[in-house]
Symmetry: D2
Subunit: 391 residues, 4 copies
Amino acid sequence: MAIEASKEEAGGHRIRLGMVGGGQGAFIGAVHRIASRIDDQYELVAGALSSDAARAKASAKDLGIADDRAYTSFAEMAKAEAARPDGIEAVSIVTPNNTHFPAAKAFLEAGINVICDKPLTTTVAEAEELVALVKKTGKVFAVTHNYTGYPMIRQARAMVAAGELGEIRLVQAEYPQDWLTEKAEADPNNKQAGWRTDPARSGAGGCIGDIGTHAYNLACFVSGLELDQLLAQLSTFVEGRLLDDDVQILLKWKGGAKGMLWASQVAVGNENGLKLRVYGTKGGLEWTQADPNYLWFTKFGQPKQLLTRGGAGAWPEAARVTRVPSGHPEGYLEGFANIYTEAARAIRAAREGKEAGAEVIFPSVEDGLTGMKFIDAAVKSSQAGNVWTKV
Amino acid sequence: MAIEASKEEAGGHRIRLGMVGGGQGAFIGAVHRIASRIDDQYELVAGALSSDAARAKASAKDLGIADDRAYTSFAEMAKAEAARPDGIEAVSIVTPNNTHFPAAKAFLEAGINVICDKPLTTTVAEAEELVALVKKTGKVFAVTHNYTGYPMIRQARAMVAAGELGEIRLVQAEYPQDWLTEKAEADPNNKQAGWRTDPARSGAGGCIGDIGTHAYNLACFVSGLELDQLLAQLSTFVEGRLLDDDVQILLKWKGGAKGMLWASQVAVGNENGLKLRVYGTKGGLEWTQADPNYLWFTKFGQPKQLLTRGGAGAWPEAARVTRVPSGHPEGYLEGFANIYTEAARAIRAAREGKEAGAEVIFPSVEDGLTGMKFIDAAVKSSQAGNVWTKV
Amino acid sequence: MAIEASKEEAGGHRIRLGMVGGGQGAFIGAVHRIASRIDDQYELVAGALSSDAARAKASAKDLGIADDRAYTSFAEMAKAEAARPDGIEAVSIVTPNNTHFPAAKAFLEAGINVICDKPLTTTVAEAEELVALVKKTGKVFAVTHNYTGYPMIRQARAMVAAGELGEIRLVQAEYPQDWLTEKAEADPNNKQAGWRTDPARSGAGGCIGDIGTHAYNLACFVSGLELDQLLAQLSTFVEGRLLDDDVQILLKWKGGAKGMLWASQVAVGNENGLKLRVYGTKGGLEWTQADPNYLWFTKFGQPKQLLTRGGAGAWPEAARVTRVPSGHPEGYLEGFANIYTEAARAIRAAREGKEAGAEVIFPSVEDGLTGMKFIDAAVKSSQAGNVWTKV
Amino acid sequence: MAIEASKEEAGGHRIRLGMVGGGQGAFIGAVHRIASRIDDQYELVAGALSSDAARAKASAKDLGIADDRAYTSFAEMAKAEAARPDGIEAVSIVTPNNTHFPAAKAFLEAGINVICDKPLTTTVAEAEELVALVKKTGKVFAVTHNYTGYPMIRQARAMVAAGELGEIRLVQAEYPQDWLTEKAEADPNNKQAGWRTDPARSGAGGCIGDIGTHAYNLACFVSGLELDQLLAQLSTFVEGRLLDDDVQILLKWKGGAKGMLWASQVAVGNENGLKLRVYGTKGGLEWTQADPNYLWFTKFGQPKQLLTRGGAGAWPEAARVTRVPSGHPEGYLEGFANIYTEAARAIRAAREGKEAGAEVIFPSVEDGLTGMKFIDAAVKSSQAGNVWTKV
């Protein structure tokens, strides 16, 4: 029990945060709020929590947001907050995908840092515009590819970078779920199924955008590789569904490594089965999201090791995003919080006109663009008859 | 993905919280603070974070506590806060064991609700005095036997209570760790090992008080049984250690059930291996703290089922303390937060002169006393030559 | 413990068996012999165990084969045994791939039943010739795609056939190993690596023929599906290796199901990681060869079940190939033995001029041909630039 | 895949074997026969398979035993076989416990080696008599405490002996099952439940003798420790059952180590959950019978290692009883076969007037006596009110 207390609680210098989306009945908004609170890095002071005025007000009240900072549109909020001396320093955008771009644009242009849910936008063009805008404004922009916040994923990345696996040959990613096995979107009360299977709100990708892009992001993050081309087989198994619900992709990485990526929303018995395996000339790594405190590592010709968060085999890259000792499991919210806390470090550095240190890691707007290019290539490959496509 | 957002974030009506202990360099203080923030139920506004004045001030500043509410003694804090119109409504006591009693007493007498770390006190007599004081003052008193906050433990308890296992025959609890395999307390920088192996600060029990009592609490909580007698074999394997570091106990429960309890701090390879197994005439349950989102359930003569937090087999008792969907793991901090949030519900009910509903569950001062009686009986049984002892 | 003794030991009416290959220093020969003995269905009475005469004699002596039935060529053995009144009734062919065809042909033509290792031959044409020859001679011909012998695989197949999973949508197979991570064939003492990476002895496929075909066979066996087309990415990661050591394939099954198949000999940390997952409209199944006594089954919307060999959820199709009670693990050799015992049932039925009942299942010469077509299509797809190819 | 073929098949010099018990409808007889065949060390040529004459004949015929060697009593068989020039060299005794002693005595006195099921006898006195008789006759005597045959158990023992764990502090053994949760012996067709719960056939111990003694044997075998005293709590949970069905024991080993042993036949959800954990000053080991190819090993302060049968971390002591490569699971029958093959080595050595080498390991008649003393002490401790009892 090498006890590691939380490295940093920032009660003394919290960042003023606003939120777009996440009102009553939403799912991911609450996740973002918990993530923002775990290390006490933020205080939520403003919100455009719903486009419905009454719900926006009520939701704000629940959350302790003052009445005059409960907005009904992100545009109004960006403008008003930018004008206040105590205005928000950062905004969380937690709406369906189609609102990410206009909202992010509005806040960047108002000089406000952005934490945006994934996928970044609904088109590559929008994503490129955001990249340019971030460059122009110099604001901090984090995309919540939250799985990169898990300590053992940080460690996996560090081990690959340090050459522990040798030259990478294979990167195998999978992300099976089963919650869309039946036509859940036919139930009007199932808001999650509704917008996630609706091209108007999700963009051109269903499963590929919702979870395939997470798996791809994680594969890139850990392996450090860039994709050259892919061949995708997108399927829609549920009759009448408007977007893909299963995704099977062959990958050719630059430099010669190969890989496969499978994401599914119809694989019965899988709750949230994100899994990453990376193999090189000298070693191999395996990690499973549902059991995130463990990282399997094998050096070729030696016994398998079970590395644990906080344990004897933990690297500094994992330890710095760890709050409780080994054997005391951390989970999804703690990993998500790590993205928020890393972003907070960057925002505070920016307050002082500095850049955050190289150890501060969170998915950037460029990573968001990389994800959009992946979705775009996969959709195109599939529509062209499952052919090889450059990203 | 039956998405279940956090049932309640209380930003609009937070409870004003103080903390005793938990200054810079402490471990469990940060855990309590994170737990208090996850559902936004509390705001930390005062602290006697250290008996060292400079450290107390610095720690308070880190945490955003105003200078005039950074105290250097709990007694001063109890008095001053009770006198303020905006004084704290609850206090977290997160010091070594020997301070639990005087601090808890001071705050109860000042009319302030208490959340106290375990074990409740260092003697049964102190514990009994606190029970009486709680009865007299009517204040809310929670003991952080935090493992009762795990959703699948709530479900296990509910399943036993509903008769899913039939009549209980066996309750097997174990809690192996390995962090005291060598004489860690010889290192003056190892503050955790220092006080936890020191009778002056820990009381008469080492391993039995630190983790044995957790295992016992969990066994009682889930099984609903009361202990009749025990026979304990307490060992000190590390030379020169002042308290037990391994505990082996046979249990006779009232009503005829049997059980074994093993806790160890010298079992190499075990990080935090709390495990509970309960068997009845009709079914059996198994749960492991390191993988807390899973609960194994078998009806006699049927295949084993893997029940998951948030999943298809989750009961309402688990769902109401669940924040994220199945497959998105929750961990130690979320379980701990459930104790804080349940206590908050009781405190808010008390604000309004009501009692919390029966569904609101947290370890009480009586549970703390039960734990103290268990420690006391185990120490006495062992000292008398490992003989049967009534609790 | 629904104790199930071995259904049948055949000491009273053993089948006289010969073996081609499998002399001193070989690997798979001993596996076949153990498999043949477990249920006492065969007695080994003749062998062409090595092409080296001295080794053939010595190996025969070790195994209790009489001197005059220790042959140095399969041709000689086929002829001599066919002429004896007590000649062998069946032969096991356990040589490198390139000998399968001529040996199998010789024994079939001599009227002797054949149990042949996989892959069936080195070309599709040879495989087709064997299929025709089996039809003509009416002899029993089993191919040791031994993984179909595992009880829980039998159960998986039965569950799919019975509609427990609904309509099949996805069949995901993988078979990672790591034993060829480095250039093991450079060591002249490594006979296994030597012939398995040598096109002259293995045929056109390396990893695809050695293990990819096992994974494919299992996918077909359990799902009951037939493949329509595939797209393969075969790689050779180890410099100078003559055959593929990693295989990634997309699958389009007839009827609309999709799938992926990955086989690798360079995935560090994987010993023999054959795994099959099948998902349908109503349920899902997962099975892992290294832990073969377990079968995970989920009905959509219900908790996951862990079905165990011999346990409460075992089906008759599993029970009839089970020897010991649940919790007493069976393994690779028992699964292999099931193929031998099933073949013995067919051979004994044929002795009496009957057909074996429908419950008697073993991989046939047609299954062997199906495997050869799969290898052929995968090699062609890959050589043509990873393009879709009909099988 | 360090491929390790079976080290030895003995077709050329099999041992002539007889069997007492194990006729049609029996369970463990078939297990013994398979175990005897796996390495081709024995040929079964005689049997007193049942005390029912017709069943004895029919069972013999099934197994290929000649009519004139199908006996109806062990006494007759011992006499007749001893008189034949081709008489049996060894006998397997696979009856209920109460026949072990008279049968073993008869064969020893007839100069025939004995392989006897466990527990050795029904009383300590009988066991002592057998020990004396073995000493006097010089015959090989193996007791099938078969779990000592598992390769990773051999490795565990070797690692402890080599000091990899340092000085042993804790030995924790458990063996839960659930097959007697209800009153199975009330069903006259359940022969297993019938005799195993019948004091007349089982002796004074139920669960303690049937499986508790296995767990104890394994604990001694791996740890190399001798027991000083125990305190047992034997329970009978099922009403009307004549013997114990749950066993909870505290252990004091000579030299200061401690331990707990739990065995149960009423722990719902446990099929055959034998598990052993050993902890020392430097390291810890964990092994589970249901997954026997794995051995967890932790050096204090280092990551956990998963050692696998046949894998990179396998020791020679495991490799010499291993037949197939890592990742190809071996199971219960292979472990059982290792006892038979080791005994065969001793018997063949004795044929030549030699002793088997020190590497040849199987449970001896002395181990059988140790088991009987354990059962005896546990029963006495429990009957005396769960008090400390010397063994």
